[in-house]
Symmetry: C2
Subunit: 397 residues, 2 copies
């Protein structure tokens, strides 16, 4: 078999994992010719051949010996520039840059077709969980009804600490940061934005339409407080941040929000750095995949598998938009636990209430409006099933 | 895109599902030209075009217009004859025949290479759960340490009834038969043989070596009694039939046996017709996939996905046997719950005992020997972790 030559962009957590694996194991049949990094003089805790590092991307992109590009840098716009140029040069790309893919999905796939190259990015969505592969291949013959995902380990960790150990949000976040689970700037994780990027990518692979992340309503976990934790504990529920997209009669709805789940749901057992994805499809019915959603080696494996896809010349469906499917921001009303208000909420369809929180039927638009008056307001979805169970209990509230 | 022509063998539960899907939906791009069945006059509950049925396999196999074969009959030896002839005629095959694949795996793959055709059989292992796809593609860049699976819905159903509803084995089996979950002759399911066929197939895809099913030690669920059920209930454990294969320093061990699992394990929540597979690999760490393991539509979807693989000309690794890996029947001693004996057992390394059962360290060879003297003997694995938890409890036995 031919030995392939690759150029690597980025030598951070995932990049080092990929480089080390390819170096230590000849079975992959890929050698890294050049690595583009910001700072070639930075000290690294593994040996590198002299001259392999470069600060000039063109040393890789213009090199005709290099068969394909592994893009593993942080900055989404810089990555987009690199990937576009790689495509123009006829080089296929493997990337793990969720933000780049989510923000430029359609353009990237159009360029992929235009230049006749391949482009795989399994590592961009839920680390080692092979969800894009499954959506592209296994589910291509099925009709997907919904995709629901716990896709962010930092949120998982914080929520577990809050419910299992009665920590408040700030101290749980601090512990996550001390342990290296959370970034110093945790905004992207705890606001739900990170989950939303991943969900936006999955929407195309599941339903064949593109959605810009900003079109997906978003509620994070950063406002959750002990009122909710006590409610969850009282009813043996857990709080999880879930991104979900559903096909309702050809209209695709999507949102990211915290939800209360019970022990009957597969999401109940997803903790810490694990991610879980539930796909419901016409033929397959419910299928659940659980795996490590982040980290050097799990994400590196997704990249390595995609490199193998390039070597085996894996063909996937051409880019096309499904004609009968549209994205819709009309979202059905749900039952929510609502907290974080100081003065009474007006205009809500209340099901039960206390001084500090209530259960009500509502939707994102109404809740976002209320949040303008009540800046600490938060909402957490309760499924109809769970509501039916808890509403008959002696102490609902 | 070219419209492909296929010949279908078998029009049972899965065959009808595949045929109906292909008929109702042009998106698959495949038309069924001929269907070979045993009895062309049998009444069927859906319409078929005149003349599509045949009792002569050669009408399909010798037809040069037919691009590929969908093999969905029951008889493994008849299926083997059909598939071999299809290969000889240069036709690629999709099959869901676990017994055929398990019994003739190596020869089938050798013939596949010899005739330059493709051969996919995702539907043979755990219905809609895409485990072979994942092992062939996602995990090909990883190093698998173990594969553990609940792969039989009938056993699951019976075991759930026994523990959750205190039914005895016979009445649980009868209910499974009445509901159509279990065959009238349940031997293959309850003896564990069905799980063993699936495990043998997975061993090749996970570890790159062939193992004949008969080389895998097997203990079914047909001897389990209320003594075990009471023990499981006392310790909040569930009984599951699990097939597992592990790589221990290049030696592959495999076995099928009932195990006691606790709520921390993903297997705990696999009930009824659901299957669950836990893969542990070096980079990915633990990953769990849960889905419907049988039934017309879930298995049909696996077949349809494989048909798409043929259309997209999916390339997977050439057949090769890993040189440094061997199958080993040396199995490590485990902790077992042992029941079903009338007179005292001798020679066992007993950890705790009662009149009717004991916990002991043992292995299959020793236990199979004991079973010659105690024909109702059965054994159920308890992991070290679970044993550590329960041994400190007030009422272990």
């Amino acid at each position: 078999m031919k030995n392939f030559k690759a150029g690597l962009f980025g030598l951070g957590v995932v990049g080092s994992g990929v480089y080390t694996a390819l170096q230590q194991n000849q079975k992959y049949g890929i050698s890294i010719e050049k690595i583009a990094v910001k700072n070639i003089d930075k000290e690294r805790d593994f040996d590198l051949p002299t001259g392999i590092l470069t600060a000039q991307s063109d040393e890789i992109l213009e090199n005709e010996d290099i068969d394909f590009i592994i893009e593993l840098i942080n900055d989404p716009e810089e990555a987009f520039t690199i990937v576009k140029k790689a495509f123009e040069k006829g080089k296929s790309v493997v990337s793990a840059n969720k933000k780049m893919v989510a923000l430029h999905h359609q353009e990237l796939l159009e360029l992929r077709e235009k230049y006749g190259v391949k482009f795989f990015y399994e590592g961009a969505v839920c680390g080692s969980v092979p969800i894009l592969r499954l959506l592209d291949q296994h589910y291509k013959s099925d009709k997907i009804k919904s995709v629901k995902a716990i896709a962010n380990g930092t949120c998982n960790f914080i929520l577990s600490k809050m419910t299992a150990e009665n920590q408040d949000y700030d101290s749980a976040l601090k512990e996550a940061q001390d342990l290296g689970f959370a970034e110093l700037d945790p905004y992207s994780d705890v606001s739900g934005e990170d989950t939303r990027f991943k969900l936006a990518i999955m929407v195309y692979h599941a339903f064949g339409i593109f959605v810009h992340p900003q079109e997906i309503p978003l509620e994070g976990i950063d406002y959750l407080d002990e009122t909710l934790v006590q409610f969850a504990q009282k009813h043996q529920l857990k709080i999880k941040l879930i991104g979900e997209a559903c096909n309702i009669g050809g209209k695709i709805n999507a949102k990211v929000e915290p939800q209360l789940v019970n022990e009957k749901q597969d999401f109940y057992n997803i903790e810490n750095e694990y991610n879980g994805i539930l796909v419901n499809a016409e033929f397959t019915a419910e299928q659940f995949v659980k795996g490590k959603g982040a980290g050097s080696f799990p994400t590196a494996l997704a990249v390595l598998s995609n490199l193998k896809d390039l070597i085996y010349d894996l063909a996937i469906a051409k880019y096309s938009i499904k004609p009968n499917i549209t994205y819709s921001t009309e979202i059905e009303r749900e039952i929510y636990f609502i907290g974080g208000f100081e003065t009474e909420l007006s205009g809500l369809e209340i099901l039960a209430k206390d001084e500090t929180y209530c259960l009500a039927k509502s939707d994102f638009k109404e809740l976002e409006k209320l949040k303008q008056k009540h800046p600490n307001l938060y909402w957490v979805k309760i499924s109809q099933d769970i509501y039916e169970i808890i509403k008959n209990q002696e102490v609902l509230i």
